[in-house]
Structure formats: structure tokens, C-alpha cells
Symmetry: C2
Subunit: 347 residues, 2 copies
């Protein structure tokens, strides 16, 4: 527990890799489930005291090296004037299925529309150990657009992809507005106390390189550039992006998240020496118990050792059925790692 996380993001020497876990404030924790028995998901997001409480739960239990604000990428539906329901996956009441629907959008300033997100960040920053950094987050523009057009989760996001081919100009108009909103949203999180930001591009992997560079990477670069003056580490995590890594390399972020499919050393070869990598233990390994977790995590540690910077994380969000004993074994292993400081000096 320390500033290990920020140092690793900047590729500065660290004695061991920092550890946090995507969805670390979530359903695998009994103390989180206890709160969710009383309130639904959106109420939890909209109540700063509760959002702050669940943000802090995994830090208290496991001593992770960073906290991530409890929120959801679809809280931006509200400034967009769209209704989203969680059952438990997100469902958008009126998806953006036409050019008209896209051009009718009226976007409100997020600080007026969803002040509870930033209030939660302020509360967390106030209550959290000052040595533990807080991470803010948002969806990358393509992934946010994919949800809004499709109307919810989907295996192939075919309506969203159809729009890219059928109405590319309207898609870009939407993406630009979402990108501007995302810059505002992340800037407000940083002003409220977040010391790093992560962009989740969960559906980028459904695109080939041509569509990815035109519709996803371009607007990710726009958001990353729009945050530069804040001088906080920017993390970009595109899921299922093995085929996109040569393009992901150009996103501009200091840290690239890597999913479990691509070994860290292979990813580093594609992504170059100018970024730190975050990841990438398979979340399914934890389901098999502490021994399997340690075996799989040791391989991630070994492959991470030669990286210019390594933030240990899972390669995807932790699963709700994960045994706590697996997480305990993971924390013990990573916290016991020692790296000679010279070996982690940036090239």
C-alpha cells in the first residue's frame, strides 16, 4: 500500500509490482453483497456515501495498491438524456438506432447532471489512506457508443457495427460528442481527487483494424489528448484486442491494459517500451482455488519482470463467484514479490 501504483504507471523503479483488480469493489465481496441487499445497483452509484463505502471495502480487506471509484460507464446516459436500467446488464430504453436519434441528443454538463459521481470521488479521497491512489474511469467513446446504439450488451454489437458501415458520418458526430463528454467526465473525476484514469474499450475487439483505427482509436486518442494537461497517468484497456495491438500502441496512454489472452511479454513486443502494461491474470484461474491462482499468477509475475512498468491486475473483471481464498493467495504472492530496483529502470 503506497504510491507503487503511480510509480509503476510512470515506469519508475518499484520494489514490487502494484496490485489492483478490475471490479475489486463488487459481488465477490460479502460486504458488498450485504449493501446490495439493501439498495439496487443504480442507487448505489447515485449515493455518494455508499459508493465511497464500497470503493473502500477491498482496500480495507486486501490492501490493494489502488482504489477505483465505484461507478459505471453508463452513468453518462444521464447527461445524454437517456434512460438505462440494470437487469443486471444495462438496458437503454431508447437506443440510438437512427441518424435522427443521434442528432437529436442534447448533452448536459456532467458536473450538473451527475454530481454524485464526483461527490463520491471527493468522499473516497477524503477517507482513503493518502498513500493509496484513486483511479477514475469511463468507457472509451466507441464502447459507450456501442452500448447506446445497441441498447445493451450483445455478443456481436451488430446494430452498432451496422451504423459504422451505413452511416459513418453520423457515427463520427456521435463519437465526437461522446468523446467531449468523456473528457469532461474524467476531468471532473480528477478534480474531485482521482489520481489516474482508465478508459475501458470493452467492445473494441469486435472491430477489425480498419474499423478500429477509424472509429475507436481516433476518438480514444482525442480523449487521451484532452486529458494531457491533468498530468495523471492514463490507462487504456481494450478487451480482446490481440489483433489490434499495433494500433493500440498509438493511443497515447501511459499504461495499456492487456487481457488474459495475450502474454505480457508478447504484448510488450507489440506495444513498445514507452508504455507500462497492466494485467493480465485470467479471472477464471481464481475460480479453481488458491493453488491454481498462485500457479497462474506466478507466470504473470515472471513475464512482467522484464517490462518497463507492470501494474498487476486481472486480464478482465473479477468474477462474482471468485472464492476469497484465491484473492488472498494472489495478494500474498504479489506483495511478497521483490524486484531489484535497477532491473525496473526505464530503458
Amino acid at each position: 500500500m503506497s504510491d507503487l501504483f503511480l510509480r509503476a504507471c510512470r515506469r519508475e523503479p518499484v520494489e514490487r509490482p502494484p496490485l489492483w483488480i478490475m471490479r475489486q469493489a463488487g459481488r465477490y465481496l460479502p460486504e458488498y453483497r450485504a449493501i446490495r441487499e439493501r439498495v439496487d445497483f443504480m442507487t448505489l452509484c447515485r449515493t455518494p456515501e455508499l459508493a465511497a463505502e464500497v470503493t473502500l471495502q477491498p482496500i480495507a480487506r486486501f490492501g490493494f495498491d489502488a482504489a477505483i471509484l465505484f461507478s459505471d460507464i453508463l452513468v453518462l446516459a444521464e447527461p445524454l438524456g437517456l434512460e438505462v436500467d440494470f437487469r443486471p446488464g444495462p438496458v437503454v430504453a431508447t437506443p440510438l438506432r437512427s441518424v435522427e436519434a443521434i442528432d437529436r441528443l442534447e448533452i448536459k454538463p456532467p458536473e450538473a447532471s451527475i454530481p454524485w459521481v464526483y461527490e463520491a470521488a471527493r468522499l473516497v479521497r477524503h477517507e482513503l489512506d493518502p498513500r493509496v491512489p484513486l483511479i477514475g474511469f469511463a468507457a472509451a467513446p466507441f464502447t459507450l457508443a456501442a452500448y447506446l446504439i445497441e441498447g445493451g450488451g450483445s455478443r456481436l454489437f451488430e446494430s452498432a457495427k451496422r451504423l459504422l458501415w451505413a452511416e459513418p458520418q453520423a457515427a463520427h458526430r456521435l463519437l465526437q460528442r461522446l468523446a467531449d463528454l468523456t473528457v469532461q467526465h474524467l476531468t471532473a473525476q480528477v478534480r474531485a481527487g482521482a489520481q489516474a484514469v482508465q478508459l475501458f474499450d470493452t467492445w473494441a475487439g469486435l472491430l477489425d483494424r480498419q474499423l478500429y483505427t477509424e472509429f475507436a482509436l481516433r476518438w480514444t486518442q482525442y480523449v487521451v489528448a484532452g486529458l494531457a494537461h491533468l498530468a495523471v497517468p492514463r490507462i487504456y484497456f481494450a478487451l480482446d484486442a490481440a489483433h489490434l495491438l499495433p494500433d493500440v500502441r498509438r493511443c497515447g496512454a501511459e499504461v495499456i491494459g492487456v487481457d488474459w489472452r495475450t502474454a505480457l511479454d508478447v504484448a510488450a513486443h507489440e506495444l513498445g517500451a514507452n508504455v507500462a502494461l497492466q494485467g493480465n491474470l485470467d479471472p477464471c484461474a481464481l475460480l479453481a482455488g488458491p493453488e491454481a491462482t498462485v500457479r497462474a499468477a506466478q507466470s504473470v509475475l515472471d513475464r512482467g519482470r522484464a517490462l518497463p512498468g507492470h501494474v498487476f491486475n486481472l486480464g478482465h473483471g473479477i468474477l462474482p463467484t471468485t472464492p476469497l481464498s484465491s484473492v488472498e493467495a494472489l495478494v500474498e504472492l504479489v506483495h511478497a514479490e521483490r524486484r531489484p530496483l535497477a532491473a525496473t529502470l526505464p530503458a
Copy 2:
């Protein structure tokens, strides 16, 4: 319409790439939907006359260069003594969630258990233009195991993957038995008239290279080798496998299917000159209409031109909402392609 397909599979000279479409006998066709209004999916699979009729529908309408038997990868649940329901995705009544469940399996010979599959193949071969080859198919062992352990479709197949880490020996026992059954199933399809076979490894892409080579590739190689004496082209299609291509290269099949994510020339670089490639138009492009289809398909044709062998297909199954006009435009484009025969000679 000809033996173009078999020649392209063998990397022999062809004047244009053959064209067929995964799920070409399916819900995007009004004549298929008309039959499905009368009978449910499993009845259709189990009634040879109807299965043969829908197999032939897309050949009659579009003149595709190969037919694929109408069936389902989960028809093998029956010789395994497991019940599967389609609602519409497959649901296994008693998933194989324990070592005991795996070791209790009693497997019947498929020719006695599901004779209707092979009877449908015989009918098709009897009724189909002799110049149009018939393709038989099955799931690759890992993908079949994934469904049987998980109990149905899933985003991450976490129960199946948990078993690989927690009970690797039991997983291998299951995979070996499924591989033997799959060899019998495909052999029977070939004896009934199929002139090529395709193995679908739809969930292989959820594995990293280590798990893939140990649990998926190994048993795919076993099946591919078990079919060698039949001397028919073997096609292996692993979905979402960009990170696995250096391993997929070793599967032993004559033809490798490539999904839409990886451009054919990039895939060819990873897969070498000893295989033909099948694919890989993004099925979502067809949703945007004939113009978008032709634009995207032209790019696939262009990238396929330098391959030692190219079977034109989509990079995933055709979507039920695909407009017929897009398919018509695709057929017209590919059928009009002319390649100098010298350029397609194997290296």
C-alpha cells in the same frame, strides 16, 4: 457452381474463389423461416427430409459453391446421453460440472444413436447437383466440452475453464472421449456423402496459448489425424483466435477458417503457405446493405488474391437479420471475380 471449392481447399488453381457462407441454411432465408414456422429446431435436425430440404435451399437460391449439412454441433449430446434444449440457444439439462459426471458418461455409437444426421447427408448427396460438394461438420472437442460443462452458451465459459485448471486430468479424459466420438461422427458423415469436413472451435479464443495448446489444439490434432485416411479436405475454424494463430498453424487441417478480425494476408503470414484460408467478410457489413457489402467484400477478395488457396466465406455465421440484397450483391461480386490461373499455383 462446380468443384471450385475442393480445388481451392487443395490449393489447386481456380479461376475465382469458391463461395459458401457459414449458416447459409438459416433464418435470413424466408424459405427457411417458412419451414421453422411448422417445426422446431431439433425436429428439423432430426427429420432427414426436412434437414436435406433446408440444406439445399441456399444452393437453389444463390448457387453457392458448396452445401453444408443442416445440423447442429450439439446433436452429439444424444450419443452422450445428455438432453439439450434450444431456447433458442442450447441448454444442457445436466451439465458435466464434476469429475463424477464426466466419468459416468456412457457413449453410444453415433450411427445407431443419431442415424438421422447421416440419412440427411445421404439425401442431400442424392438430390444435390453432383458438381456441388457437401460439407459435414462438428465442434472441435474443446468447444463441445465447453458447452457440456457450462451447460449452454456463455460469455466467458468460466465453469469450463475452471475445470481445466482444477481438474486437468478429468478434462483430458472427457476431451479424449469427445474426440473419439467426433472422429466417428465425421467419418459417418463422409461415408454418407460429405466431401469435406469442418471443425468449429467457437470458444477456443477464450483460452490463452498455454491452455489452448494443452486442451484445445491437442485434441483437434487428434481428430484431424483420425480423419486423414478419408482423404477429404479438413477445415478448422477457431473463432477469435488472432492470438493463437502460431499454434493453429500446427492443427494439421488443409484449410484454416479466419474470423473477420484478422485480415487474410496477416493471417496467411502467421499460418504459412501449406494451408488454404477460408473467410473472412465481417457478417455485420452485410447488415448495412449491398453497397457496404460490396465494398467490404472487395477488400477481402483483394487480400485473398495472393493466398495459396482462398475459400470465400464470412468471418462468422450469417446473421438472421441480413438483407437478401446484400447476399445477392456478394454472390454477384465473387462470381464475377477472375484470377489468372498461374497466380494461384501453389508455391
